[in-house]
Symmetry: none
Subunit: 234 residues, 2 copies
DNA sequence: CCACATCGTCATGGTTTTGTAATGTTTCCT
DNA sequence: AGGAAACATTACAAAACCATGACGATGTGG
């Protein structure tokens, strides 16, 4: 997961640094303000992946800020977590119905805040599951392989074999293991078959004679090369 | 918004009916069980849009059910809300980190539960009511398809199949997946059927022989072409 | 109750893929 | 070097895969 950026608006200095410390420890980038003024501008400038918002601020209302975020076409998709001491039913409802994505009542456990933050980052995995190795790209969801941007036509078995090898680059697999993984456990296939498929793959995705994506490891099996082969120099 | 379906697993009869009443009032479809046994099967059958899960059940553990849902490839995207009396820090963290999307501690306000449910349905609206690919347009709200501006008459099944494929252009789906998505989970349909429908779709929406909107991916299934087919040359 | 549209299945045939056996080549050991 | 084992290649027949046309069942509106 790339580094996620979080904006924190919280006037209580102690709580501010506590959260800052913990977000930092978790590997998030944090920018923030202890005042509600200019919060929208801060978000427009920083384009965070998530906003943590105290509702009761001395100079402005967190609810208004949330409303502002939701009204802004560029920001409206950003998840907002409210943080507040108000625990009454209507307060909560108003917050949630106003467009907040979560609502945490003070005092709270920091680890819970972190866990709830992570929920919003979960599930939005990259649309395409892409395996890369130098010029070679394998797109799982499209069942497609490209070499230097150009599509390479592979058969189903070839694709699955390459996918398996690429998903664990450098690891050497015996023919036995490859048969289990690619052909299935109830296979009825000779292990020489693997050789043939490696050959077919090589003929399709090999660039030069010198460097090979698939490495034969005599006496053991095959592995996907980590030393990324290159066409020219790099 | 179409009718959303919610599965509720809660052993306390009073709470069960309270929630049932309120979900019903809000216009949600609810199915549920007062036992944890068979919860996964229930979800597989019903394919709900959200699951509300009590953690402490007399016959099984809500955490395990959640784990089961997250482990099932067809169910793992479904939001899970935990409902529980356990308020300790570790309980909450475990619940959230296990894959739950929300965690509500009893006793709670029903309106808050409703508000939190709605959060999960918000924003996941298909942003595009209108799917486009070159000359081909699919209007979800009107159940209408146009090719070069001219309306094409599709049957219900043809429409759903095309809609599903177009909604994730480029992604390859197995016949199995297409049957699940288009025909439903309680299907009693051969997977050869998909071939026939693809054929029928092609006959109706295909422009030329060279370029095709629906791509056959031998050994895997079908996908909607991203390379937008063109009437003329490129 | 008939005409018509839709649905799902089946059988067919052409094409691609697959697995194996046979043969050639490299590597390694003595 | 000689030979054996491991790997690379080639060629080919069997199997799998998909497109297609036809058909019966079911449902629906007139």
């Amino acid at each position: 997961m790339e580094m996620k950026k979080i904006v924190l608006i919280e006037d209580d200095a102690d709580l501010y640094s506590l959260i800052q410390y913990n977000l930092d420890k978790e590997g998030f980038t944090m920018v923030g303000s202890q005042s509600g003024k200019g919060a929208i501008e801060l978000c427009r400038r920083e384009r965070p992946d998530l906003v943590i918002l105290d509702i009761m601020l001395p100079d402005s209302d967190g609810l208004d800020i949330c409303k502002g975020i939701r009204a802004h076409p560029e920001l409206q998709h950003i998840p907002v977590i409210f943080l507040t001491a108000r625990a009454s039913e209507t307060d909560r409802i108003v917050g949630l119905e106003l467009g907040a994505n979560d609502y945490i009542v003070k005092p709270f456990f920091v680890r819970e805040l972190i866990a709830r933050i992570k929920i919003h980052f979960r599930g939005q995995q990259p649309a395409t599951k892409l395996l890369k190795a130098g010029e070679l790209e394998l797109d799982r969801s499209r069942c497609q392989v490209r070499l230097s941007g150009q599509e390479i036509a592979l058969t189903a078995t070839e694709f699955r074999l390459l996918e398996f090898l690429m998903s664990r680059p450098g690891v050497v697999f015996s023919r036995e293991q490859l048969l289990d993984a690619v052909w299935g456990h109830d296979r009825a296939v000779t292990d020489r078959t693997v050789d043939v498929y490696v050959l077919r793959l090589r003929q399709k995705i090999e660039i030069s004679e010198a460097s090979s994506f698939i490495r034969s490891v005599r006496g053991f099996g095959y592995s996907f090369n980590i030393e990324v082969p290159v066409t020219q120099a790099q």
